[in-house]
């Protein structure tokens, strides 16, 4: 069994921004979604777990079959069990996919040539780049490049997989493909996926957390999260003039256009005048939490 215990992580940047504020999370094997707006501290947390950044305080301990590994103190060993897909990354443009993945495999400790070959080929099949294996990676589209990144992350059979905003900027088809790929990631590994796209979490993650301004605001399954908001969410369709006249104390979490008309959603104990109750989606949860209108 593999699990990850994150305790009281705190990180303040030199410019005073507190990126992580006493973050604690318990993660078991399987996919865990980390949802949050831009600047919530997701990437800081991911980079910290990927050994690429130091925090001011706190700990992160990975247990593999009962043996604890302090990720922050023992980076050398942490890297051996880590698979990391950075948010955005480049690749040597002229290298061929197969060769480049081979290089990464060597660096992951796969020094035996025949074994390495097997792993590389299998991974290329897995991420569906087999047909492009002789292509220079500089010619890859964004989705292909990210699938290549997943292959790199999966080298060496990682027990902790950190995937930072993997679907940002992908077209719908490519995103769907990517979801299939992520869904197959090892059942025995802790997979931490950060995203600001609610559907990613909905589609993939049995458990999730919402991070906002460096703090964990919610932890649970997507269903639990929606359950908490059920009966407290109300909506109303308004004109622009009416919108401006709304009471600021109402607790508006979102205003969006539905078929050309504005729909305002609020969190309240009871329906305000003119509002009607609606079934909460995960997105509503996300807005409710990140606007601070609702604390689970």
């Amino acid at each position: 069994m593999t699990s990850l215990a994150i305790r009281n992580l705190t990180k303040t940047y030199p410019n005073g921004v507190r990126a992580l504020d006493d973050v604690s999370l318990e993660l078991g094997a399987g996919m865990f979604g980390l949802l949050g707006p831009n600047g919530a501290g997701k990437s800081t947390l991911m980079r910290t777990l990927a050994t690429l950044q130091d925090v001011d305080a706190g700990s992160a301990v990975l247990s593999v079959d009962g043996a604890p590994l302090d990720l922050l103190a023992d980076k050398e060993r942490a890297r051996r069990v880590l698979g990391y897909l950075p948010q955005d990354f480049g690749l040597s443009p002229k290298a061929r996919a197969q060769d480049l993945l081979g290089t990464f495999a060597v660096l992951e400790g796969l020094v035996d040539r025949a074994a390495r070959r097997q792993v590389v080929d299998a991974l290329l099949h897995k991420v569906n780049l087999w047909d492009a294996r002789r292509q220079a990676v500089g010619t890859f589209s964004g989705g292909m490049r990210r699938r290549f990144g997943i292959a790199v992350a999966l080298l060496g059979n990682p027990r902790l997989i950190v995937v930072d905003e993997p679907t940002a900027g992908l077209d719908p088809a490519e995103r769907a493909r990517f979801h299939h790929l992520l869904a197959e990631l090892g059942e025995d590994a802790v997979v931490l996926l950060s995203t600001h796209i609610v559907d990613d979490v909905l589609n993939l993650c049995p458990r999730m957390a919402i991070l906002h301004q460096g703090r964990v605001r919610l932890v649970g399954s997507p269903d639990e999260a929606r359950e908490g908001l059920r009966g407290r969410l109300f909506a109303r369709t308004v004109t622009r003039a009416e919108q401006e006249a709304l009471d600021p104390a109402l607790g508006v979490i979102s205003t969006r256009l539905v078929a050309g008309r504005l729909e305002v959603r609020v969190v309240a104990d009871a329906a305000p005048a003119g509002f009607h109750p609606v079934e909460p989606s995960l997105e509503d949860v996300y807005f409710a939490v990140t606007t601070g209108r609702w604390t689970p």
């Binding site: 990391y84 040597s92 660096l107 020094v111």
Partner: protein, 1210 residues
Amino acid sequence: MSAPSRGRWLLALLRDEVTAQLRRPSPWAFAAMYAAIGMLFVIAAGGAFEGVQVGVGGGNTDVDSPFAVTSAALVLSLFAVMNVAAVAGGAACRDVEQGMHPLVYSTPVPRGVFLWARFLGALVVCGVIVAGIPAGILVGAKLPLLEPERFGSWDAMSAVVALAGWILPNVVFTAGLFFALAGVTRRMFPNYIGGVLLLVGYLGAQALIRDLDNEALSALIDPFGFGAFDLQTRYWSPHERNVLLPWPTGWSLANRALWLGIGLSALASTFRLFRFDHDGWRLPTLRRAPPAPETTAVATVVPTVPRRFDPPARLVQLFALTARAVRDVLGHRYFWAFVAATVLFQLLYTQVIGTLWGTDTWPVTYGVLMVLEGTLQLFVVVILTFYAGDLVWHERDLGTDALYDALPVPDWMPLAAKVVALVAVVAGLHLPVPIIGVLVQLSAGFHDLQPGLYAASLALSLVEWVPFVALALAVHVVVNDKIVGHVANVLLWVALTFRGALGFEYHLFWFGASPGREWSDMNRWGDALGPHLLYQALWWAVGLGLLVVARLLWVRGTDPGLRGRLREARRRLDRATVGTLGGSVAVSAGLAAVIVYDSAVVHPYVSSVDGTRQQVRYEREYQADWADAPHPRVTDVDLRLDLYPRQGRLRAEGTLALENRSGEPVARMLVSTPTSSELLPEEIALSLDVPSQWAVLDDALGLREVTLDPPLPPGGRATLAFTFALAHRGFDNAGHSTVLVDNGTFVPSSLVLPGLGYERGYELADKAERRKYGLPERPRMLDLDDPVGRTRNYISDDADRVAFRAVVSTDADQHAVAPGARVEEHVEEHVEGDRRVATFEAERPILYLFAFLSARWDHREAKAGDVDVSVWYHPTHTYNVDRMLQAATDSLEAYGRRFSPFQYRELRIVEFPRYATFAQSFPSNIPFSEAIGFVARVVDPDEDIDYPYYVTAHEVAHQWWAHQVISADTQGATVLVETLAQYSALTQMEAEFGPEHVYRFLRYEQDRYFSARAVERDKEVPLMRVENQGYVHYQKGGVVMYALARAVGQERLDAALQSFLLAWRDRGPPYPTARDLVDHLRAALPDAGPLLTDTFERIVLWQNRATAATARPNGDGTWTVTLTVRLEKTESDAVGRETALPVDEEIEVGVYAGTREAREPLRVERVRLQGPEATVTWTVPSQPTLAGIDPDHLLLDRDRDDNLVAVTTD
């Protein structure tokens, strides 16, 4: 709204552009920087820094003269090429680089207007930058801290000429080029590379351009106008340099116009190729591929395989990372352009390997390597600096760092991989060298290839580069900013390159420095390799230390800032790291200690400033007391000299018989013992056989005082016994041994014999240097008629002529050579190594000038009458041995016939290593450097000057002109020595090769005379008063004597010289002077009086020109030709101020058929002509094509190309 007119549009855009660009600080900062450099240059040239010599073209040319200002500004402006590349490139591609082009290119401005505005704006900015250069120089020249003697011709117009005439045309040319390059590629980067390549290539191509036979062509094709400037001004006398403004004229003007035109055509091509669209021109390499077809994902199982992180696995990983880094460099878009440029320039430069008088030397391996490695060096510096930054920043630039940094590899590995990769790249750059080298050698028909030398030299070169790889990478890692890192590296290179100019010579203070290495076929690496490798070991250790520091500060993951990096560094300080760092510090310190011990403790460190100060001290402390003190003279030398070439030591033991010829009693003597930067005294012992007391005056100068009680009366005799043991100890910071070496020892007599009295020759000679040290002005030589000068000869004031006997021993596998005949030789067996012992005896008293040589030679012999002639040469240097032997026997025979019999039984030509490049005539021996003559390539005697023959003929002539008759130690001394030897050699060359060969030679000599007199540091004097100035006694002397022979007939001149020689042969004091020679010639050749005055007693220059020649047939096959000539004759003073002289004398006129290259004389005669314009009408036997004045260039004429004119037919 209507569009504005194009003109107003252009003006508005231009104003906008210029204000925007000039509002930024950088143009002004660069202008200020160049002004500062200009000022610094003037201050240095003005003599502000001790030990720094910056020349501006001769001591009589003012530092602030228009010539000096313009040439300095022109040179400094070359560095502004990089600014032009940046400014013009920026103007062309700024929009694309900043991503603004979709906005800018969609405006309605016409493309032409837009480009003109940008280009003209760039010119204005560049103009501001380069204007700093002459401004700085002119302001600097007015600073009060300079020596006023070097200034005085300040002229504000200099700046105008420098800018308008020379620098701005260069700016337009380069700006056009770079504007086009950046405009078409839409990137700045090609410009930086292009700028570097242009500079490096140009500096390297200088030699190539200079070497062209056709001066006009070489002046024309020089894009920056250096060659044109040089051609235009090189004969300018110091006076002209001070007063004339060097506006481009003639070929210079053509050069300026040509390159201005090329710049503008580049601009025109930009107008055609520049595209106002989104993509521009793009190489079709990396097209985005369509996404690969999606196959249905196969359910794949990724096998779990064991992973390894043990040391062998680490090695595999290091190799994989290195291979990746090497591929990154090789895949870089400009790398192969660098390589191609390197190879191209190497091929170009090999075309100019060593030439002398227009004749090539054989492409011997060391010569080829010198050129190829030198070229390579320029490019490796560029590649190293550039790719060090590129490699350190490669992952971060690509954004792939997060992938790599999270991999389970240790912190040291990425840096280690980059070090290995860069070393591999540098090594790879060495690979073409032997291929190019061998190709060059084979294509020249040279087959003595030396693969071992290629391998050794290139291996050493690579060893020398490795520390610089470490340094360049470490700088980038530590600085952690790509641009700052590049700048820091470039500044480091500049500092390391110009360290000599900064005045610090001790190599230990300069990363990567060493006393150097130098190959000689004779002596191989000599004893240079030990110290050189010691230094290399030191720099490797220091480099390792730097890398450890870099590894500690290496950024992995998100850059945590300096404090975070230092915190991380502390964490990385594990035992192995501390051990490595400590080890490298300890090894560096240990090696540094060994070096200091060897080159500053057991071997004293004497910097060149220290050396100068010693000369100053010698003069200050001993001149007053000793310069005029009478000393006895040496009459007999009896020497036992033991040379131990392999062990680096020698022992000299012997006696000098002294006789007091001064006419006064001698109560005290100044005796000097050998001092040398190479051989240090182990034992010094001196004694006299008369009552005397010895005292050491000065150890560093090797001076002792001996008091004689009672004084040695006039005519009294004494014997000075001496023992000197000298040896190599440690090593010299300045370089390897050149005197006593394993193979090719050349020991001068000053290292084995004591010297008597004060030696004026050791005084500081340079005028400016003397001023700097507050020494009074000093005549270079005693006046022509100085009576004291006449009592001693030009070679030595320690002796007149001496009886000489020496027993010289050396290692048994070598031969030793000393003056005199080798009367006996045997090999002695010793436990420490067998010795060859030879006895030399001079058949008659000889001059007090000896050299002792020893080496493993082969030799060839010949007979010239009774004389045994031999050439002792390095076994592989057989190319010209027979020519030299031939020249020696020819010369001996001819001079014996023309002047007097040869005085010795043997004449030996002896090769010595290339550490010096001269040949010198000692009694019966002629040491000859391996670098001249022995490796000369005389393929076609009709085309090439046969200088092995010529130099041999010259040196053999010294056996007469020096060793039979020696001049007094006054002005003009070298006329009797060098000028007459030169005359003998020229006439010998004529006898062997015909007069055309001599004419070609004399053309070079005239060129060298006019170039050298322009940069005279003190004053030019008439030939009769020459003060050991080579350009006067060789170049002018040769031309003058050859012309004299032509005027009076060679036989008459020879007869006059013969009677002069016989009158003075073997005479002691008073010695003859040049005045005695001129008087003798005047008496013997009464018709040559005015000519002797013009050639020997005055500096007379000519400017003769054939202006027109017409011919008409006479009907009987003969032709009548009418030639008009302009004649100008001037007398110059010491600094080149000229006054006109009337012309009324016999000058040679010639009419020819054929071409300039192959002319057929129809009639050549001396004709009495009156200036300034004269006409000659002659009948010639067939149709003439050329006619002219002084056709063989026997008069000193600055402009020799206009002496002949084509004949037109009526």
